[in-house]
């Protein structure tokens, strides 16, 4: 019974999200009714399940596991777990989503992206339910990925706006780092040591919960409609990382080193972000950083093993920040009035008066450090992103060579497989891993030509598949082949979409904004990008999992690199999509057509 209820609460919003995404309903009233119906059904079934669980004695239960996919010793199972933590978080998820959906039903009235908004929020709701209830890390990762992608879609909700799209990509790039940790952790869940597992989970949690050093993305993500910011960055999305750590406490709680790391990360984040929050001149950035500060404290509580306190803190913080963001437009009226009727000095003046007692050097340094948000963004950019971009610049001129190498390698691997010998050496596989990165570099450098860029990303993914194919034992080529096949389909879709808007020879400017004029191509390329990013409802998701499963047996180091390549490709695919379809068509490019005749009108 509980299982059916929980399953309904996951499936209902997902089905309705797909219905809306497929444009099966377009009129505002109908869209709103469907969305609210789906969300309400999900909430009702969740609450019913929780009530049953409470009535049945509140013992942690795991629903019987269904094997959704099995190949040799790889199994993808579906099981939902209900214990104290997931019950509390589930109620939080349903309450905030329900409130925000109802809020948005009025708030977004007459907004052009009404349907798109509700489709994405429903997808988010389903994803959060999966993430909350998942009985294993594989399933949790599915929810995790969907949360990330729905986040991207809502930050870039105003897709014609440059900064919205840019910040959506920035957020997504951090999410990809978190995904790497989660993906590896899911694969290692049964075999890996608790220390490795703990650190991987921490990496995942850091990215998702905007902990040090990734804190900068939260305020920048406040580009969508206010309710979506409240739901994602005030309430649920930022707490997903902390929730992950809470749920997996039994996996890492016994390793002191991991606990120290978790505590340190939390402590540093709390200290830094509370400083950043104080200097922000915009209300949403202030609340965003305040929320992250408290998530830092939650990390510390987790590290200390205060799990119940952490859970309570999570719930309270989520609700408070959600509320604060929803009422943030009131700031002008409220704060000006307060300042005046309180008659006292503003906090800023109070601080300024005290700051004068300190040496000017310190005060300035602290202010500059806080205003620059600890240089986190700049340091990460030059340490992680710029080398990649440089790689792109270096390898692009050699693209013919890269292409030839790839082709030859593919032929060799396939030939060897056909001959049936002991396929290739590990060294050869390593070469393919490098090739995968080089192809990604080419994709990075060739964004001006979407067709090529999509092709290079696909090439890189194929190289990963080949590498796994090459490094697994002779009789086991299934993972590589199936992933390659899935990628080929997805890639074909992407190429078709790109070809529809930009002919092979033509270049685009960044954020060319073709979504307005080419909805069909946009849909094709979006699905393709989601495919490369291994969206859970698409076959590439399983392919990716299988691939890593095989790779791990051959070499841990290689599989870490392969995870990196897969994460990077997912990001690049989404970036290609954003560069081509999002943004605003440049007004300079489209000169208006002139009327054919002269009419001698008075000027």
């Amino acid at each position: 019974m509980i299982e059916t209820l929980l399953l309904t609460s996951v499936v209902a919003p997902l089905v309705l999200a797909l219905v809306l995404a497929a444009r099966l309903a377009t009129r505002e009233a109908i869209v709103a009714r469907l969305a609210q119906g789906g969300a309400a059904l999900s909430a009702a079934t969740s609450l019913a399940a929780v009530a049953l669980w409470v009535a049945e004695g509140q013992t942690p239960i795991v629903t019987p596991s269904h094997v959704l996919f099995q190949h040799e010793d790889y199994r993808f199972t579906f099981e939902l777990a209900l214990d104290r933590n997931s019950v509390v978080f589930l109620v939080l998820v349903q309450f905030t989503t329900g409130i925000v959906l109802r809020f948005s039903r009025f708030y977004l009235h007459r907004e052009p992206g009404f349907r798109r908004f509700f489709a994405t929020v429903l997808m988010f709701q389903a994803a959060m339910c999966i993430l909350t209830l998942a009985g294993n890390l594989d399933l949790m990762f599915a929810g995790w990925e969907m949360v990330g992608l729905s986040s991207f879609l809502l930050i870039a909700f105003y897709r014609d706006r440059h900064s919205a799209v840019r910040n959506a990509l920035k957020t997504y790039s951090v999410y990809r780092v978190a995904d790497m940790g989660m993906l590896m952790a899911a694969r290692l869940a049964e075999t890996g040591s608790h220390r490795d597992l703990g650190l991987l989970l921490l990496l995942a949690a850091i990215g998702k919960s905007a902990q040090f050093p990734f804190s900068f993305w939260v305020p920048r993500a406040m580009e969508g409609p206010t309710p979506s910011s409240a739901l994602f960055y005030g309430a649920l999305s930022v707490h997903a990382g902390a929730y992950l750590l809470l749920r997996t406490f039994h996996l890492w709680g016994d390793v002191t080193q991991v606990r120290i790391c978790v505590g340190l990360v939390g402590l540093v984040t709390a200290a830094l972000c509370s400083m950043f929050s104080r200097v922000q001149p915009t209300i949403k950035a202030q609340v965003g950083y305040a929320s992250v500060t408290q998530v830092g404290v939650i990390f510390v509580e987790l590290a200390l093993g205060l799990r119940d306190l952490a859970l309570l803190h999570m719930v309270c913080n989520a609700l408070l920040r959600c509320y604060q963001l929803l009422v943030s437009p009131s700031a002008v009226a409220y704060l000006l009035r307060r300042q005046v009727s309180a008659g006292s000095a503003r906090p800023a003046e109070w601080h300024a008066a005290h700051a004068r007692l300190l040496p000017r050097r310190w005060v300035s340094a602290v202010y500059v450090f806080s205003l620059s948000e600890g240089y986190l963004k700049d340091v990460l950019k030059s340490a992680l992103w710029s080398p990649l971009r440089r790689l792109g610049g270096v390898v692009l001129p050699w693209r013919t060579v890269v292409f030839a190498t790839g082709a030859v390698a593919a032929v060799v691997v396939i030939a060897l497989a056909l001959v049936g010998g002991n396929r290739a050496s590990m060294l050869f596989a390593w070469g393919l891993v490098v090739l995968a990165f080089v192809c990604s570099g080419c994709a990075l450098g060739s964004w001006r030509r979407p067709l090529y860029s999509v092709a290079w990303v696909s090439g890189s993914s194929l190289a990963v598949a080949l590498a796994v194919f090459a490094m697994s034992p002779a009789q086991n080529g299934f993972a590589g082949i199936s992933y390659a096949a899935a990628i080929a389909i997805v890639c074909a879709l992407g190429l078709a979409g790109a070809a529809m808007v930009v002919p092979p020879g033509k270049a685009i400017t960044r954020y060319a904004g073709f979504s307005e004029s080419h909805p069909a191509a946009t849909a094709c390329c979006l699905v393709s990008a989601l495919g490369v990013a291994a969206f859970p409802l698409l076959p590439t998701f399983l392919g990716e999992d299988l691939l890593l499963h095989d790779a791990l047996r051959a070499s841990v180091a290689a599989s870490v690199l392969l995870t990196g390549a897969l994460a990077l490709n997912g990001y690049l695919a989404v970036r290609n999509f954003a560069f081509t379809f999002l943004g605003q068509k440049s007004r300079r490019d489209e000169a208006g057509a002139e009327a054919p005749r002269e009419f001698a009108l008075r000027s």
Binding site: F103, S104, M222, I283, H313, C316, P329, S330, A348, R587
Partner: protein, 870 residues
């Protein structure tokens, strides 16, 4: 001027910075902090040009649309909202060659017209070279990230908890310079060699040095400065505006445009150095296209499609004008009388929202006469309420008041009023300490669940939830202010503390006479100032009274009533020939346009003989305001058409307290016309809520002096509102603030998108979406000669009329002929037809649909529509 500048003189000596800045600042938006949102002509800088040319020139400068798209007009034509006769009138005005009119008409209707689009100088000019050299990303995309947080941090009015060190005493440029020098940590992008060196110089030298480094040719400096500021119009405009009007900021800051530009240019040097290396070539060596150094207000070369679209625009306007003028003329012909001696007068602001309210009041009773005048009621003063830190201006924006009125609590009430806000609500509502590490930790436990409850309560039962800012009607009823001055008392900044009886009498007499309300006194004269209560709305000030500079008009109404009841003032009035009998009482009131509620002031010591009449009036008015709410609700899709008044009243109240409602009311949307004349001209006409109504008695003004005085308040206020809506609707992205949903409050100064966006100017789409972009048609009830002379008497007013930023018409009270101002004269308008529609009551009209309705007659309750069958 710019075009004549001497050609290459590589040194800066030939460049006059001050003069250049003054010229450049002229093209920036003039919007102050959002707390006093004052409607003004968005394209005020172009007002010296003819309307269509000005709009075209502005489109080229800012990269905006120069016209609604042809599809908009074609659809309006198909839907019958543009009539064939209106197209004829538009053609007659724009196409002198009669033989060609048929072919123009064909071209209009053929479709396929496309308006040219413009990138704007910020993207299309010199700076596009940087875009190319930076790999397709505009330079400002990099520099704004750093600049805006400095602007915001420095100017912040109380949002952030730590203020920028030195912000309270140093100017902006010095403050940033000190910060960079004092801090051992680098402040990006000022960490490059040249940027650092420039920042060591005084602002002016740094500015010129940065120009030399980036541009390199002094004759290109001015266009480059213009382009740079146009790339950040929101901040640049606000800064220029705050420099001009020192009192705009509650927390004073020494911000000047020079400082703003200096920091901007040095930051851009820093960005360029990081991207292109320290020895990057200036534009003089590398520009891919020369700057557009022509004057922005030079007549642009307009494409044929643009001209055709302006014909469409005129036809669109004429479709409304024609019906409107026809209705006024037909109504004049009937000119029915009201009850001979009404027992009450209700005086409203000329606001278009009063248009329906007055109609409903007259429908409910024939015993009340209504008047309209600019909502500051002739009393121009600064006002400091008990909740205000500084005094605000309560009169139209161009006026400079010399009086200050201070509101205080009476001792009696002080005890009863607990004005402190409980700590938990302060923390919940965005005050700093919930956002700190420890404070937030403790408070999130304490408040998290409370926040959830509060939110749920507001979402399901908005009326019950505690809202952040209380509705207007509950504010300050218990406070008093002193209107009459003690001797020569002045405030520290030299304003008179209150008025003398003489001064009051002069102002009151002027207002009453201009309305023709100076004889046959009734029992009661109720004056309604207006304001709007809304929650979760940074634009709250734009909903208030435009004639009170975006403030609530209640103090003015209250002051007027107080003064007119004062025996001393009445004596002074009598000396001026205006004898108000003792049997007449003035009452000041506040009308909340969002909630459709009225609050009456100073009734505690009301004498017994007025209680009865007042109770009657209030009953009638309650009926009228509920009907008004019902009419307003036809625009809200969430309310079924034809909802009964009681339900509508609940609906509008709910809106005003709903956190999730981005449209508490539609404000001035759909405004299109203004009548300065007797009520008989407009009474019994269903003009929707599109008309500003100012009472005026033509027979008492044979020389047009009163008219001229009235126009000097009416035209700037109404045209400002109309044109702001016009342009925000025309291009919501450039002239408007775009959709309101993602807005983020920045420094309590304005709103921006995300945390990195520029401040947004203009109105959000939620306020303008139902607005039809039509220039205001001002109709005065006067003969053409007097009307023209009165308009010409005030150059600031005549500028709007002469260049057709408003259309100016008159209806001769003697001959009932209508003329409209065209090419310097009043041209007679022929062929006007009376309205074809009539409804028993306004509510019947309101049931017809949600769109703009045609103009028609409505009949008072009880009378029969028999004479209109023709």
């Amino acid at each position: 001027m710019l075009a004549d500048a001497p050609q290459p003189s590589a040194d800066a000596s030939g460049f006059d910075l001050e003069a250049a800045l003054a010229r450049v600042a002229h093209w920036l938006p003039t919007q102050g902090p959002i707390k006093d949102f004052i409607h003004h002509n968005t394209l005020h800088a172009f007002q010296g040009m003819r309307f269509h040319e000005g709009v075209a020139a502005a489109a080229r400068l800012y990269g905006a649309r120069s016209s609604m798209p042809a599809a908009f007009f074609l659809e309006a034509y198909r839907a019958g909202r543009i009539s064939d006769s209106a197209i004829d009138r538009a053609l007659a005005g724009t196409c002198p060659d009669e033989a060609r009119r048929a072919s123009v008409r064909e071209a209009l209707l053929a479709g396929g017209l496309e308006a040219p689009t413009f990138a704007g100088r910020a993207r299309d000019g010199l700076r596009s070279t940087w875009t190319d050299r930076l790999g397709g990303v505009a330079l400002h995309r990099r520099s704004h990230l750093h600049l805006f947080r400095l602007f915001g941090g420095y100017l912040d009015q109380g949002l952030s908890t730590w203020q920028m060190p030195g912000a309270d005493h140093a100017g902006f440029y010095d403050c940033v310079g000190d910060l960079v020098r004092a801090s051992p940590l680098p402040l990006l992008p000022f960490d490059t060699p040249h940027a650092r060196a420039l920042l060591a110089l005084p602002a002016r030298e740094a500015l010129l040095g940065a120009l030399a480094k980036t541009v390199g040719r002094s004759d290109w400096y001015e266009p480059y400065l213009l382009e740079t500021l146009l790339a950040q119009p929101g901040w640049a405009g606000l800064i220029a505006e705050c420099e001009r009007n020192a009192g705009l900021l509650l927390t004073p800051r020494r911000m000047t445009l020079v400082d703003c530009i200096a920091v901007t240019l040095v930051a851009e040097v820093g960005c360029l150095e990081r991207e292109l290396g320290t020895a990057f070539a200036p534009l003089s060596e590398a520009a891919i296209r020369p700057p557009d150094s022509g004057r922005p207000d030079a007549s642009p070369e307009r494409a044929e499609s643009e001209r055709l679209l302006s014909v469409w625009q005129e036809a669109f306007e004429w479709s409304y004008y024609e019906a409107f003028l026809g209705a006024l003329r037909a109504n004049t012909a009937r000119s029915r009388q009201r009850a001979p001696a009404p027992s009450a007068w209700a005086v409203f602001c000329l606001d278009d929202r009063s248009c329906s309210l007055r109609r409903h009041l007259e429908e409910v009773t024939s015993d009340v006469a209504t008047f309209g005048t600019a909502g500051f009621f002739g009393l121009d003063f600064f006002y400091r309420g008990v909740d205000d830190a500084v005094a605000g201006k309560h009169c139209p924006a161009p006026m400079k008041p010399r009086h200050l009125i201070v509101e205080e609590f009476e001792l009696l009430h002080q005890k009863q009023l607990d004005r402190s806000v409980p700590w938990w609500r302060r923390a919940l509502h965005l005050e700093g300490h919930a956002n700190t590490l420890i404070g937030g930790w403790v408070l999130s436990y304490a408040l998290g669940l409370g926040a959830a409850a509060s939110l749920a309560a507001n979402i399901f039962r908005p009326s019950l939830a505690p809202v952040i800012v209380p509705p207007l009607s509950t504010v300050n009823r218990d406070a008093r202010f002193k209107l009459l001055r003690d001797g020569d008392a002045r405030s520290p900044d030299g304003l008179w503390l209150g008025y003398s009886p003489e001064e009051l009498a002069e102002r009151i007499a002027a207002v009453l006479r201009s309305m023709g309300a100076d004889h046959d006194w009734p029992r009661l004269v109720v004056l309604f100032g207006h304001g709007a209560s809304s929650v979760n709305n940074p634009y709250f000030s734009a909903y208030n009274c435009g004639a009170c500079s975006g403030r609530v008009g209640a103090p003015n109404a209250r002051a007027f009533a107080k003064a007119a009841n004062d025996p001393e003032v009445r004596d002074a009035l009598r000396a001026r020939g205006l004898a108000i009998p003792d049997s007449t009482l003035f009452v000041g009131a506040l009308y909340d346009t969002t909630r459709d509620e009225a609050t009456y002031y100073d009734l505690e010591r009301l004498s017994e003989r007025f209680r009865g009449p007042l109770a009657v009036f209030r009953r009638q008015f309650d009926d009228a305001r509920a009907r008004n709410a019902a009419e307003r609700c036809r625009r809200f899709e969430s309310v079924p058409l034809g909802a009964p008044p009681k339900r509508a009243l609940e609906e509008v109240r709910r809106r005003s307290t709903s956190l999730f409602e981005p449209r508490p009311e539609y404000n001035h949307a759909t405004n299109a016309s203004c009548v300065v004349g007797r009520r008989a001209l407009t009474a019994d006409l269903f003009l929707d809520r599109r008309t500003f109504l100012n009472s005026y008695e033509p027979s008492a003004d044979p020389r047009g002096e009163i008219l001229s005085h009235v126009l000097s308040a009416v035209i700037p206020v109404c045209a400002g509102i109309n044109l702001e809506y016009f342009f925000s609707r025309l291009d919501p992205r450039v002239y408007g603030a775009g959709t309101k949903l993602p807005h983020n409050v920045n420094g309590l100064l304005g709103v921006c998108n995300g945390i990195e966006g520029d401040l947004l100017t203009g109105l959000p789409t939620q306020m303008t979406e139902i607005h039809d972009p039509v220039r205001l048609l001002v109709v005065v009830e006067q003969s053409p000669a007097i009307a023209l002379a009165a308009a010409k008497a005030n150059p600031a007013v005549f500028e709007f009329i002469e260049n057709e930023w408003v259309r100016y018409a008159c209806l001769d009270p003697e001959t009932r002929e209508v003329s409209i101002f065209t090419d310097g004269r009043m041209a007679k308008v022929d062929g006007l037809a009376p309205p074809r529609w009539a409804w028993p009551t306004s509510l019947d009209a309101a049931r017809q649909g949600r769109e703009n309705l045609p103009i028609g007659f409505v009949w008072r309750l009880g009378s029969t529509p028999n004479e209109m069958s023709s």
